[in-house]
């Protein structure tokens, strides 16, 4: 029988009405992702598939939350409900004492691959990110990224992050064109809180200068109304500057302004994953990608065998995230943008065997490849 009905419908995850007593705010307190809480054994739970998990994601916490009001975000100011109860990237982010968390990370350091502190748009965010970074660095050597909140930063502050041991910077661009950025993040009901396309790019540029090649990444969300051509153009632009593009699949947060907005089809998502791998790692040029008049990817002009090899390799379909110390996958966000009942959007492990068969079906290469394509 079909055991779970409507397996792709977004659901709200909530256990009980556990409420914080008094102010539990950063830097003394910090949220961590549900997967991180399970991996660190702060929370009971398990993953559907068996894989090593060592990417710990932290999120600053304030009583008045994030000042931004992005249309797709679980933490948006105008999303109904108490900030404390809001989900972010699909799941709850339980709160813990920072000291206790750092001690637990130190204890489990050998199994950790990457740490990441997500800032939120708040006047206190920079100061508290520094405090938490220093607390981590005093006890844990695992590589540490910051997913920055650009409105709170300037060049000097980014330099300070590098000085205190941060090795990678992520910028949550999310929307891949200026028009989409404005629509989803700047011209929003509660006000844009300083989020602007220009400011984000200024932080990208400063970060690239300070942290160096392949030490900066831009998060790109697939499914906010962009075309394939717009996404792929950005991948080329970032490759040119030796900046990673990290893919995220839009997943509607219940009750958010985009709560009823559909996520992109699995076939589109797979093709974007494939295209990005061909561009970032295999050196393909812009002319290898053909689009229709709507900007949808129509053909990839490349030798079929070479593309089949990329599919077979499986890496294209793994979670995009900051690497571990030796380049291995570091931040893998299992079930971050899809329910465990759905197909993996991105795999937190290297897909092989049956998983690759599923991917091939979703990708439908026959419909995408120009027969006898030229080499790039």
């Amino acid at each position: 029988m079909s055991l779970l009905e409507n397996p792709t419908r977004p659901v709200t995850l909530r256990r009980t009405g556990e409420k914080a007593e008094g102010a539990q705010v950063s830097p003394e307190w910090v949220r961590i992702s549900a997967a991180s809480a399970i991996a660190l054994q702060f929370r009971s739970g398990r993953f559907s598939r068996d894989f090593a998990f060592g990417g710990i994601n932290l999120l600053l916490n304030y009583e008045d939350g994030c000042r931004s009001d992005c249309s797709y975000c679980g933490l948006a100011r105008t999303r109904p409900g108490d900030y404390e109860d809001k989900s972010f990237i699909r799941v709850e982010w339980p709160l813990f004492r920072t000291g206790e968390l750092v001690d637990r990370m130190a204890e489990k350091e050998s199994s950790l691959t990457r740490l990441c502190i997500s800032m939120v748009t708040s006047p206190l965010a920079y100061r508290d990110t520094v405090t938490i970074t220093e607390a981590i660095r005093a006890k844990v050597a695992t590589p540490l990224s910051i997913l920055v909140a650009p409105p709170t930063l300037n060049r000097r502050k980014l330099e300070h992050f590098a000085e205190i041991g941060v090795d990678m910077i992520g910028i949550g661009l999310d929307a891949v064109t200026e028009e989409l950025f404005r629509r989803h993040r700047t011209e929003v009901p509660a006000g844009g809180a300083g989020l602007s396309w220009e400011k984000y790019w200024s932080v990208v540029n400063d970060s690239r200068d300070i942290f160096g090649p392949w030490k900066v990444n831009c998060h790109t969300v697939v499914g906010l109304g962009e075309t394939d051509a717009e996404l792929i153009d950005l991948f080329f632009q970032l490759r040119e500057r030796e900046i990673f593009a990290y893919l995220f699949c839009f997943n509607p947060e219940p009750d958010s302004r985009l709560g009823q907005h559909p996520k992109s089809s699995i076939s589109r998502w797979r093709r974007i994953q494939l295209a990005k791998r061909l561009i970032e790692e295999k050196g393909y040029q812009r002319r290898a990608f053909d689009f229709d008049s709507e900007g949808s990817l129509l053909n990839i002009d490349a030798p079929r065998e070479a593309v089949e090899d990329v599919v077979e390799e499986g890496i294209a379909f793994m979670t995009d995230g900051c690497p571990g110390e030796n380049g291995e996958p570091g931040c893998t966000r299992p079930y971050g943008s899809y329910r465990p009942t759905e197909s993996f959007r991105d795999y937190p492990f290297l897909p092989e065997g049956m998983d690759l068969q599923v991917i091939r079906g979703e990708l439908d290469l026959d419909g995408l490849m120009v027969q006898g394509g030229s080499d790039r």
Binding site: I38, Q41, S44, G45, P340, T341
Partner: protein, 147 residues
Amino acid sequence: MKRLNVEGYELRGDLYYDAKADMWLSVEDGVAKVGYDPLGLEINGTLAALVLAEPGREVTRGQAAGSLEAEKFVGPVTAPVSGVVEAVNEEAVANLARIYADPYGSWLLAIRMSDPGELGELVTGDALNESFARRLAAYRAQGVLAR
């Protein structure tokens, strides 16, 4: 009714427990009401959805009688006894938070048993302590329980 407490988990001496299904059972007039015991609830993480076999459906001990989805996990709801589903507790299914608050007040399925002899394979009464401690140790070894 005898209440036991094993390392903070409440057990009830008047109920049957199935270690493989992680469920409790109360039996009356050949009908078993079944629900998740506190450990069974905890191991999966926060529940997101439960889909249970509909009334009239035949279920077999050890086989799926539905499916559960938690934040990072999906798996079967295992039938602890064989029989025909007489009722589903729709109120509990619709309000999953309540199951955590009152696991023993939140039966999920009522199953008219086809083989009452299966009760002999379940654990009850004085055997509960030792059996539960074994289950707890096994889940701890798997690393699925919070410390």
